[in-house]
């Protein structure tokens, strides 16, 4: 029997959710961090969406958030001109790194020893978290605000997307630009998939996939509306797209076919992150929603119901799902 997707709504934020990140798989499951304009990033259990804690300390909108692989550390980038590093187990602030302007992006290296930041002051900074008092290494070159900065190629290189309509690949040791990708319009999101070295970039209504090492274009897909965020599933079967038509789209990566689309948010979908069994979306409406990759499968809070269980005179059994999916 065909099943209809029931998204799980995670409430708590009071302003638009602008960034999401998952951790790796840890012995305690995996985790999700959300960046929000209310200045209070939250940590949630990845498979259920249950709130674990709120990182308190920022004095402005939080534009970027990330977790390290083990989910022991979190980093956030905010409009209060700081990037902060947090203990993701206790919720305590470990470090506050002052910048000269709004910080938009933060990213840990694989070993969690270095933090890359980028923002409105147009400079990429690399902080050695073992020596927090030391000055960060700085990489200049972008001519306008940096939107996203990511480590790639085993942390040997850096990818950055800026409002100057370019995406640049930098060598970490030489701090020089290796390659530049120009665009006609500002890049709305950029994501790096280490497995297979794929770069996902969205701009306008287009989602483009590049080889992360050579920056050669692999393919592009056009969406029905302006795309705020696009993200590729780790196994490259599908990618999800969120845009300003309030919808989420799921596409087959190989055939470029639109597989599913969902209305559920009440505002433009600012970010999407797939993570194996589910994908998460954050919206202007202040909520996060978790969506199943395989609709109907028992996972997390979703329960697979066998056909026999559905044949019932009692309609309560049928409508025991969350009514919020309509609201």
């Amino acid at each position: 029997m065909a099943m209809r997707q029931t998204p799980l709504t995670c409430s708590g934020h009071t302003r638009p959710v602008v960034d999401l990140a998952f951790s790796g798989i840890t012995p305690y499951g995996y985790f999700l961090i959300s960046a929000c304009k209310d200045g209070k990033p939250m940590l949630r259990q990845g498979d259920t969406g249950d709130w674990i804690g709120t990182f308190l300390g920022h004095k402005g909108a939080v534009w970027g958030a990330t977790l390290n692989k083990e989910a022991t550390k979190a980093a956030t980038a905010a409009a209060d001109f700081t990037a902060k590093v947090w203990d993701a187990v206790t919720g305590d602030e470990i470090l506050s790194l002052a910048h000269k302007h709004i910080v938009k992006s933060v990213n840990f290296t694989q070993d969690s020893n270095y933090l890359l930041t980028g923002g409105h002051d147009k400079v990429l900074r690399i902080y050695d978290l073992g020596k927090p008092e030391a000055e960060p290494q700085e990489i200049s070159g972008h001519t306008s605000a940096i939107k996203k900065a990511l480590w790639c190629n085993n942390d040997k290189q850096i990818l950055s997307a800026a409002d100057d309509k370019t995406v640049c690949l930098w060598d970490r040791s030489s701090m020089e630009v290796v390659k530049t990708l120009p665009f006609d319009t500002s890049v709305s999101s950029m994501e790096y998939i280490p497995d297979g070295e794929v770069l996902v970039i969205s701009y306008g209504k287009t989602v483009a996939f590049y080889n992360a090492l050579s920056l050669e274009l692999i393919k592009t897909v056009d969406a029905p509306a302006s795309v705020y965020s696009a993200s590729l599933h780790p196994e490259k079967d599908f990618f999800v797209v969120g845009g300003d038509d309030f919808k989420l789209y799921k596409y087959d990566y190989n055939t470029k076919e639109e597989l599913e689309s969902y209305k559920g948010h009440f505002g433009p979908v600012h970010c999407v992150r797939p993570d194996g069994e589910l994908y998460a979306s954050g919206s202007e409406d202040g909520t996060l929603r978790l969506w199943q990759t395989a609709v109907g499968k028992t996972y997390g809070l979703w329960k697979c119901v066998l056909p026999e269980e559905l044949v019932s005179e009692n309609s309560d059994a049928l409508y025991s799902t969350v009514p919020e999916m309509k609201a």
């Binding site: 065909a2 209809r4 029931t6 949630r44 709130w51 187990v89 979703w302």
Partner: protein, 157 residues
């Protein structure tokens, strides 16, 4: 029990005739959910110290320490406990006393301290002196406070 008869085309293009026919194998049934995700509890910032993850990982997440030496860890824990107890006692001694708060945005206010919440996120104060007048009861957000001071010797009850 009245049986509602209605028909409309859903976004999946199915016609729903009446409740009795709902299970006629053409309707996509929504996936069932065990419960909703739990949201923030409103009174604290979370990170439950009794959770399995916290219990297992907490010693190694004390940022200031080098977790190599167990003895150093114990003495650091002891020092932290002493400092924590001292701070809590300072809060107790502050009750019903005049406190001067220096806050962001060049704000300096006086108030009578009543209580703090468990996470030291909010201070409950009385007779808060503001440019708009004296507020009989107020909550001060601790993250907005840069420093505060009070005298132990004199007290206005």
């Amino acid at each position: 029990m009245c049986s509602v008869v209605f028909s409309y085309v859903t976004r999946y293009g199915y016609m729903i005739h009446n409740r009795g026919n709902l299970l006629a194998a053409v309707m996509k049934t929504p996936v069932r959910v065990l419960r909703l995700p739990r949201g923030p509890d409103g009174s604290s910032r979370g990170f439950d110290p009794s959770s399995a993850r916290y219990q297992a990982l907490c010693p190694s997440t004390i940022s200031a320490s080098d977790p190599v030496d167990c003895v150093d860890l114990k003495s650091e824990q002891r020092a932290r406990s002493v400092l924590r107890e001292r701070y809590l006692r300072s809060l107790i001694s502050m009750v019903k006393r005049d406190v001067k708060f220096t806050m962001y945005e060049k704000v300096k206010v006086d108030a009578v301290f009543q209580a703090s919440d468990i996470d030291i996120l909010n201070f409950q104060v009385a007779d808060l002196e503001t440019p708009l007048g004296v507020q009989k009861e107020a909550l001060i957000r601790c993250p907005d406070v840069i420093s505060y001071s009070f005298e132990i010797d004199s007290s206005k009850m």
